[in-house]
């Protein structure tokens, strides 16, 4: 098979634009080293670095709070202030560039006192209930307070008024803990180009909110949860059904089944102290059994099912003369909300496939209830563990109850973080858990399904199946490396047989999706198939994943490490193509007939609604 990679639309990619600008300044200047002095010691550092970066190279850490590299470089919090010889006042290390001969002091009395005072002032307008706070285990403010020996009672006074906003399906905003770092606003605006939150009012009355202070649930928020992921404190956290799930488990009448998304295994171990990039699948399965779920299944099964349905739909569209192309994936509920809000005219491009989570629930309460377990679907409680907060919105969408009215495909969903909390709360010791395997049949998967959890994975999985069907023979290579990686927009074309070259594009982060959608609107996108995931990098960086502190975000690409977990697992598997999954074959034989059948359409496909944006 011939592979060519073309760049056209990708040039406009937003995330890359900023990134490459940075790299350009660096690579242009990194040849040039400047002489600098930090705390009296001589160092060399690349021209163009900030004080923060130069100090890091020298092994000296300066504490930060608001700063996120390439995302939020606004010097809002003043935590990172350092002294520069001959400068009148202290400077913000996160944005201040070094120059030849600069002398920096990061630990002078003046600096240490200023830092302490800054943190004390932040705390003075902060509702501190660390004991019960959802972030007490990984709060960046608490860590700063501890490391700098602050007196948290020093400044007492009025606190900015705020109300708790629990209006949206997925998250709670508690501004009494907000430190006004604006990281959430940057994520919403720059990663997602949604921008439904910003700073309202000014001075002491400043709060983060939406236009005319409408609750978040009344805006065109896409429920991605990226704002939660970047928040350093407990001001943003997901809504939870954890207690309802545990109640269902305790109820002997209920048959409680859990499915876990591919990306959860790539991150859950982080919550228990393992390094980023640890595969936690086996222990996770063991933990779910110990929590008491009756069956522990794998969303991967439904990812393979999705490929069968979506692949068939794609092939039909390619073969038909009139069908709408490019076809776009529909696995990511945040992305669905985004296109419904912002590009409703392009909805015919969306695949009609439900997301894997929903396909799983639909199959569970129809096929599995009827043919395998032989129980009343009303007794089944369908639960998912997802890397995603948008799933909390998705499970309540219309047309998501294949087994009949009042029998939803999914009853509850929880994030990776919520599962970790549940495991801790129930006293299950992660480190001593054995590695266990998923139950069958809905726990059987292929490598194609595993990589669904990262940007490019759905595309690669689809290509593995579609190319073989279109070509009518087995392909030599199963690796579609051009669509892998953390770039915001990727393009490739593959000649699957003589006269048929399939052109594809992949985008993650809805700001990048916009670039492709605008190209479609302008008639400039001659792709056959586009994969879009709402979160930058895909589900491994979903809004329900373990929060990565600013310090780590600023120094490594944690997303690539998480994605590597999935690619490694894929590589090690015997079955790597969705259409080779034996239990999927059986499912079609015993129940759905063939992909795209009427029965499959009823259970596994859906429709979309036009919405407005604010």
């Amino acid at each position: 098979m011939k592979k060519t990679v073309k760049k056209s639309v990708a040039k406009k990619e937003t995330a890359k634009k900023t990134a490459s600008k940075k790299v350009a300044t660096k690579s242009k200047t990194s040849n040039k080293l400047l002489n600098i002095k930090i705390n009296g010691v001589d160092y060399k550092a690349p021209a163009g670095s900030t004080i923060l970066e130069a100090c890091r190279v020298a092994g000296i850490e300066i504490p930060t709070l608001c700063y996120l590299k390439d995302l939020n470089e606004i010097a809002a919090c003043r935590v990172c202030m350092v002294e520069v010889k001959n400068a009148r006042s202290l400077v913000a290390a996160c944005v201040y560039p070094i120059n030849e001969g600069i002398e920096i002091f990061t630990n002078s009395k003046r600096v240490v006192e200023s830092r302490k005072k800054t943190i004390e002032l932040i705390l003075s307008n902060h509702r501190m209930d660390c004991l019960s706070c959802v972030r007490s285990g990984n709060c960046e403010l608490l860590a700063l307070a501890r490391a700098n020996g602050v007196d948290d009672t020093k400044y007492q006074g009025a606190k900015t008024e705020s109300k708790i906003d629990d209006s949206s399906a997925h998250l709670i905003r508690d501004n009494s803990k907000c430190v006004l770092c604006r990281r959430c606003i940057a994520a919403c605006t720059k990663f997602q180009s949604v921008g439904v939150i910003g700073t309202n009012n000014r001075g002491f009355k400043t709060i983060v909110g939406s236009h005319f202070d409408v609750p978040l649930g009344d805006t065109s928020c896409v429920h991605c949860g990226q704002c939660i992921n970047v928040c350093p404190v407990g001001a943003l956290y997901e809504k939870t059904d954890a207690d309802k799930i545990l109640d269902a488990i305790r109820d002997p009448e209920k048959f409680v089944v859990v499915q876990t998304a591919p990306a959860v295994r790539a991150t859950i171990a982080e919550e228990f102290g393992a390094p980023i990039g640890t595969n936690g699948e086996g222990k996770m399965v063991a933990a779910l059994r110990r929590i008491g779920f009756d069956k522990v299944f794998d969303t991967d099964f439904a990812a393979d099912l999705t490929i069968m349905e979506e692949g068939t739909e794609l092939i039909e569209r390619i073969k038909s003369k009139k069908a709408v192309l490019p076809m776009i994936t529909s696995c990511s509920p945040g992305w669905i909300k985004f296109i419904e809000n912002y590009y409703p005219d392009l909805l015919p491009h969306l695949s009609t496939c439900k997301s894997p989570q929903q396909m799983f629930g639909a199959t569970l309460k129809t096929y599995y209830a009827e043919k395998v377990a032989k129980i009343d679907p009303k007794k089944i409680v369908s639960v998912s563990v997802m890397p995603c907060t948008a799933k909390k919105f998705e499970i309540h969408r219309n047309d998501q109850s294949a087994a009949g009215k009042g029998i939803p495909d999914l009853d509850y969903t929880m994030t990776t973080r919520e599962l970790a909390r549940m495991i801790k709360k129930l006293g299950i010791d992660w480190n001593s858990l054995p590695e266990e395997e998923f139950d069958s049949p809905m726990g059987t998967d292929t490598g194609a399904a595993v990589i669904f959890g990262t940007s490019g994975g759905v595309m690669e999985a689809a290509l593995r199946t579609a190319a073989e069907i279109l070509a009518g023979k087995k392909m030599k290579s199963l690796d579609y490396k051009e669509v892998r990686g953390m770039k915001g927009i990727k393009e490739a074309s593959y000649t699957v047989k003589k006269g048929l070259t399939v052109k594809v594009a992949v985008a993650s982060g809805t700001a990048n999706a916009r670039v492709l959608l605008d190209a479609i609107r302008e008639g400039k996108a001659d792709y056959h198939f586009i994969e879009i995931m709402c979160c930058p990098g895909g589900c491994i960086n979903g809004g329900g994943q373990p929060q990565v502190s600013g310090h780590i975000r600023n120094t490594m690409d944690y997303r690539a490490k998480r994605a590597a977990v999935l690619y490694n697992q894929d590589k090690s598997m015997k079955l790597r193509k969705s259409h080779d999954n034996p239990d999927i074959k059986k499912l079609y034989k015993d129940y759905f007939g063939k992909p795209g059948s009427e029965k499959a359409h009823h259970a596994l496909h859906t429709s979309y609604v036009k919405r407005n944006w604010t």
Partner: protein
């Protein structure tokens, strides 16, 4: 910022004027503040309907417009009433009890400071020293100054503006 229950009374002509201003200037560098100033000139204030026209016209989130509207004191989110009352909370007036006068006005008009009555007759606000400290506490109704105020004088003064 409180939302007022005041019906939007913008006309087709005003809308046309704003929209053509937006299309003429939307490609200028940083056009938002200038367009908001023009909108305020046309409508007198920036209600949600007008902010939405700006947001859609520039293809930027509503919150971007609201953020600017609530940051700069020059922008009004509520209309001015036919009679605009401004109570001085400068030091001299404050010491002599102007806060109580403001409270009485709020009670009488059933609006908060910064709001406008539903019939658009009165709007209420506070200000700093009006330079009439000798008469403290002081307030202005449009351009007319009232001094030596007490809360119980409020109903009588209001009744002059029916």
């Amino acid at each position: 910022m409180s939302k007022s229950a005041i019906a939007f009374t913008g006309t087709k002509e005003q809308e046309k004027e704003l929209k053509s201003f937006i299309s003429a200037h939307k490609n200028d560098p940083g056009p938002l503040i200038m367009i908001m100033q023009e909108a305020q000139k046309i409508y007198g204030y920036l209600p949600v309907e007008v902010q939405e026209m700006i947001s859609k016209g520039l293809n930027i989130p509503m919150e971007k417009v609201y953020e600017v509207a609530t940051f700069y004191a020059q922008f009004n989110l509520v209309p001015r009433g036919k009679y605009h009352i401004s109570v001085c909370l400068g030091t001299a007036c404050y010491v002599k009890g102007s806060q109580k006068v403001l409270d009485a006005l709020e009670q009488n008009l059933k609006i908060q400071s910064g709001e406008c009555t539903a019939d658009r007759k009165f709007s209420l606000d506070s200000c700093r020293c009006l330079g009439a400290c000798g008469l403290a506490p002081v307030m202005k109704v449009n351009d007319e100054v009232f001094g030596k105020l007490t809360p119980d004088k409020v109903p009588q003064i209001l009744s002059q503006f029916k």
